[in-house]
Amino acid sequence: MTSKTPILQIKNLHVEVEGKEILKGVNLTVNAGEVHALMGRNGSGKSTLSYTLMGHPRYTVTSGSVEYRGQDLLAMSADERARHGMYLAFQYPVAIPGVSVSNFLRATVKARRGGDIPVKEFRKELKECMAKLGVRDEFLSRYVNDGFSGGEKKRLEILQMAMLKPEMALLDETDSGLDIDALRTVAEGINALHNKDNAVLLITHYQRMLDYVAPGFVHVMQGGQIVKSGGSELALELEAQGYDWVAKEFASSGAN
């Protein structure tokens, strides 16, 4: 446990959207083998952080730095980040009409692995992942997220993650909109993928998810900053008491 390998090092990150500052100095380090949970009220900046880390062009970094396995993440385009092993499971996955799930998955896996895989090999791997995640075959011929239910979209996000095998997975409210059984399957999927060489940042509002995917670290975001960090017990406190006390504690600490 002594030598930690940092995967993501975020330092004093400031981000603007359409001229408005949303992130106001985020600091966070995620090491290999760790699971972090990021919580916080609606509008506190969680998705903004995840989009920024993935390289959405709408989000402008005004100051601060992000290192990804020793490299300057902010210098990479979104597709480069993905090919280097970053992954974002979207809070609101986007529909791509006319593009079948199987064709889409094949193209993305090819991009991530840097080469074509024979159809049959790919299909075998895909079928195995689908079976584990309880995704039905008919999914493959449907168009990406087009007319998918909320839960179906989230499952597809996890299926993609399983196929792309990221080193740093950002999961933005993947648990929202899942029924109880789906939540368990998805959580099991996340656990199965997690190992000592990769890391997960889980954005969530609910303890339910954390019951399955036990995070070693829990952070609370407020007003574009991480205002409190702790162990898994912090999530339980938040579940019981809400966010008010965190806000008060932060205000009285005089930090800003």
């Binding site: 597709d79 993905a82 593009v99 991009a111 991530r112 159809v119 168009y143």
Partner: protein, 475 residues
Amino acid sequence: MVAELSRDEMLHSVKADYKYGFHMSEEDYAFKSGRGLTREIVTQISRMKNEPEWMLKYRLKALDIFLKKPMPSWGNTEMLNDIDFANIHYFVRATEKQGRDWEEVPDSIKKTFDRLGIPEAERKFLAGVTAQYESEVVYHSIREDLEKQGVVFLDMDTALREHEDIVREHFGTVIPSADNKFSALNSAVWSGGSFVWVPAGVKVEIPLQAYFRINTENMGQFERTLIIAEPGSYVHYIEGCTAPTYSSDSLHSAVVELIAKPGSHIRYTTIQNWSNNVYNLVTKRAVAHEAAKVEWVDGNLGSKLTMKYPAIYLMGPKAHGEVLSIAFAGEGQHQDAGAKMVHLAPDTTSIIVSKSISKDGGRTSYRGLVKVYPGATNVKSSVRCDALLMDEDSRSDTYPTMEIDEKDVTIEHEATVSKVGEDQLFYLMSRGLTQEEATTMIVNGFFEPFTKELPLEYAVELNRLIALNMEGSVG
């Protein structure tokens, strides 16, 4: 082997490695008429082909009409008025085309085909090797099958010699010379094109493609196609290859006539990719008699200006018509395409789906007409136009016209214009696709309702073409 792969897998597997197109060597010309259009040239064309006297008269009359008719006063008149009729060779007879050799196909592509288990004949087609080599055998057996069924499939010039009566009975009945300036021009100087006659009750299982024909008077600039489906028959005809079709002269003006007799079904698929100096001004029209079905599946890429509005006249009760078209306009291009549905009988139905993409300042227009005559009761028609704009400089317009002279009808019309969304691009790029790959994927998806109607090898070519058209367009 092949059956194990789904169509979707085949399509996108081939695309993955396939970056090879048709490259035909410069043609030698056996004969080339002088520039310009005169009675002498028209007479010379007819004489060279040993045509019957009635055809010569037909041509000369059409020439008079052409000379008298004004240019269309609508559409892109600026571009139209640039056409220099005096500077065109109206008749060019090519020598045998050289096919590309299988040996020249790169190993990487052969390997891809191996891995996919694509049959030999199809591989050669996919790789752009023309039908002259071993695959000749395959086409020979196709031709034998057609002959046994009594199907006549010839180039138009040969058909006129060998089946003069059928040709004379139907030629120009769907599209009279006087229909428009360009149909008159074609009627005067036509050469090549296909003639298909399907006997009653015969269903032609394989799509007919021009390169199956024995004596190929190759597709020319003024080709003339006539397809007659006798009652209860079925035929699917595919025209054009997706290769960039370079031509020395810049005007392509075809006439295509389809006659679907009662209970028959004709599907006519086109994919054309003209070089950017070509005016593509084509008149396509079908008549559908009682309970007949006609479908135009029409893909337009390339060209400088395309004006093309496949029409279906629904003449008999319960006739059904469909036009499914795509258009892609890049820099300096205008794709003015659409459809016409004319309902002349009760219980007739029609569907128009038009999809267009404009990029780099390109322009697409949908121009459509749905007309319902009095007495054509219980008509149902739906029109859907979707336009996708790739950037701020590009343009798309719709000119839908409805002339409904009957109360008892159901007409639906829906039009959308959208831009390639930042969020769609970001979603795909966040999965590792480059901006170019992501854009191509969105565009392919947009055209998918069209692509899925194509035979596999054409779908492959179309996707490849779209990828080529997207290259260098982003970033």
